[in-house]
């Protein structure tokens, strides 16, 4: 009984704590709003950047940042001849930020978004590189996150991880692997704080008041 309690508490701790990064630059820049530009695709799956884009707003907004509407940003860039994400990523973040009035820009590169078919199982892999740059062009934060799903990995020893894996396994079928749940999982792992993620933004510890749209502190 006692062992069980200790094990469960430990797994909770392990699940919620990860290595710390240097947040000096991030905290100095203190961005309130983040512009998410379309992802650069280094995988062979052509649909990856669009599908990925649908997953990224929620974790950042829930972390307390103003997040520019991703589809609108994507369409505005396309309308001005910047449908190539590489072109967007190569343009100075100062310019992007000032045009949209953003404090920071999040660049996402999809390194892997693939499924490998083996005899008895399918391994689905999503690997994403995240970089946040300030409006003055400084890199404030970066993270590389890889998520692998293999149905044969029955238990990881972490009940929460197992739960997530089970949820993912429902979606990742051999016929048509769905990468989106894995992308969600990668985002969740990435933006966890404390953890590899970013500190809460201006709306992180605040509550939007009911009537007047102003914010009041907690």
């Amino acid at each position: 009984m006692r062992t069980l309690i200790i094990i469960s508490i430990l797994s909770l701790l392990v699940g919620c704590v990860a290595t710390n990064k240097d947040y000096t630059k991030f905290n100095n820049a203190k961005p309130s709003s983040i512009l998410i530009v379309p992802a650069v695709n280094r995988s062979v799956e052509v649909t990856a950047p669009d599908y990925y884009l649908s997953t990224i707003s929620i974790p950042l907004a829930e972390q307390g940042y103003y997040v520019f509407p991703v589809n609108m940003v994507k369409r505005l860039l396309e309308d001005d001849g910047l449908s190539d994400a590489d072109l967007v990523h190569n343009s100075p973040s100062e310019k992007l930020a000032s045009l949209f009035g953003a404090d920071a820009v999040l660049y996402v590169v999809i390194n892997r978004w693939d499924a490998q078919y083996l005899l008895f199982s399918t391994t689905v892999t999503v690997e994403i590189a995240y970089t946040i740059k300030s409006k003055s062009g400084e890199t404030l934060w970066e993270h590389l996150q890889k998520m692998v799903y293999t149905p044969q990995n029955n238990s990881s020893g972490n009940p929460l991880a197992d739960l997530i894996v089970m949820a993912v396994s429902a979606a990742a079928t051999k016929a048509a692997p769905n990468y989106v749940p894995l992308a969600h999982q990668a985002n969740n792992a990435t933006f966890r704080y404390p953890g590899p993620g970013i500190p809460p933004g201006p709306y992180g510890k605040l509550r939007i008041s009911q009537q007047n749209n102003s914010t009041i502190s907690e």
């Binding site: 069980l4 884009l53 649908s54 907004a61 589809n71 609108m72 369409r75 505005l76 190569n90 045009l99």
Partner: protein, 137 residues
């Protein structure tokens, strides 16, 4: 054995409570809706409908997420509902100070387009806006 079972249930609840917190905003499957839009881009009407429904629900609980009014406003704008789009750009502008620079541009763009279409009654070949041309220069 019984105590172990009870503990497991309590622990399970702890995990759920601790790691699936209430969301700050009402999202109503915003991610899924965008995903379906990218999967079926031809069905633009569906995106407009879905975003409208989402805003409707989010307003009921006063948890409209950042960017959502603008996303909807832009969907209307692309559909050609220029008057209606301005209402939502304005809502975004008023709710989120961070959006004001962009929303001011969007509102004046929608107005300009609206004036043009009133004069010409045809904006089909118009470029929606020249906002970011200078980025790569």
């Amino acid at each position: 054995m019984k105590r172990i079972k009870v503990w497991l249930v309590v622990f399970g609840l702890l995990v759920i409570v601790g790691c699936a917190p209430q969301t700050k905003y009402y999202w109503g499957g915003y991610d899924n809706k965008l995903y379906h839009h990218y999967k079926n881009p031809a069905d633009y009407e569906k995106l407009v409908e879905n975003l409208a429904e989402l805003i409707n629900q989010a307003e009921k609980v006063d948890k409209v997420p950042p960017g959502l009014y603008a996303e909807y406003g832009f969907a209307l704008y692309e559909k050609g509902d220029l008057e209606e789009s301005q209402i939502y750009f304005k809502k975004e502008h008023d709710k989120w100070p961070e959006s004001q620079a962009l929303m001011t541009k969007m509102i004046s763009n929608a107005q300009r387009q609206s004036n043009k279409s009133a004069q010409l009654k045809d904006t089909s070949n118009e470029k929606p806006l020249a906002l970011v041309k200078e980025v790569t220069q």
